[in-house]
Subunit: 201 residues, 2 copies
């Protein structure tokens, strides 16, 4: 169904159907697919990322289905976020992560399927990690950059919900990265400092 | 976990665990239980409600688990909403329903379990009905009063998410009701005009 927008607001009720097993959202407006070929610099071990690419071909790391809800204060934006399982150089597949353009806005991630973490960082460096599992509602407070990390064996599927006017700011993360990364050590996830922080571009 | 609040904002990340089968939220701050004895005037057939009460004793119609997130612009409030199955005088069990105090705010209901409808009405009388089923994300646009209606055989469980500063306004609904109600006819749900609209108090 096409959204009807009036004065920067959704004017008609609508619903979208999300398949809890796959995360696929019917009736989406925009689908964002993030393939490894565009994300090699996001992983700490860039060489391992290139090797993975040569060996496995281009690989879908995560994707997002969303409705084009106006970025207006008072509206609510949401999407279906699907991060696939895997590791590169020991680092778990994850989303790019972002700050909100309007820093003083929070976000709720309701986890539908899979296992992983929400990694959160303040610009001052403070770091938080919350478990994601079916039924977990993770609250990302205002001011925190945040990224989903899949530490499981199936897709990590969640429903992020955020204020219409939050906006996305990828800039500093694309160039500097997160200060911390989640890696697999002895078959368990471990949070370590990012040895390439500040030099991820 | 106790929320840490600073300057009207959630200052620490947290998560709550929601049992998708029962809707029970662990670590909630507030639990609202709505029993029939306090809701008899909400049903069109008030006599049937009183009979139901005498016959079955007091009955939990719906309940809500929530975290005490500040009602600040930029924050995101959410809860677990559980409406139990049943009918009174043919009318399905439902929530009281509300407008937002700040009318120009939307709300998203992600349905986790059960079957039913989201009934929505503008103050001008325009009415919308959207299906609720597991995986449905129902968008309640700004300005619409809204109520969950359980037409199924098990609890209708959803996760409502709304702007921190939306607020709840029950006033006009407690006295006037909705203009439309959902009743069971020939074992199917049907939307009809509320014969007692304007006189529900």
């Amino acid at each position: 169904m096409k959204l009807r927008i009036e004065n920067g607001r959704v004017a008609d009720a609508f619903s979208t159907k999300l398949d809890p097993a796959t995360g696929v959202m019917e009736d989406y407006d925009t689908r964002i697919e993030r393939y490894l070929s565009k994300l090699t610099s996001m992983f700490v071990d860039r060489d391992a990322a290139k090797e993975y690419l040569e060996k496995n071909g281009d690989t879908l790391i995560y994707e997002v289905y969303e409705k084009d809800i106006p970025e207006t204060n008072g509206e609510i934006r949401y999407c279906s976020s699907i991060t696939y399982p895997g590791t590169i150089g020991g680092e778990y597949f994850m989303t790019k992560g972002h700050f909100h353009s309007r820093r003083d806005t929070a976000e709720l991630y309701y986890c539908i399927s899979g296992r992983g973490y929400m990694l959160m960082e303040l610009e001052s460096g403070e770091c938080r990690l919350e478990d994601m599992y079916p039924g977990a509602a993770v609250y990302v407070p205002a001011y925190y950059a945040h990224r989903s990390v899949n530490t499981g064996t199936g897709p990590l599927i969640s429903l992020p919900v955020y204020p219409g006017d939050a906006g996305h700011d990828y800039g500093s993360i694309e160039t500097s990265g997160f200060m911390h990364v989640v890696v697999e050590k002895n078959e368990k996830p471990e949070l370590i400092e990012n040895p390439r922080y500040g030099n991820m571009g």
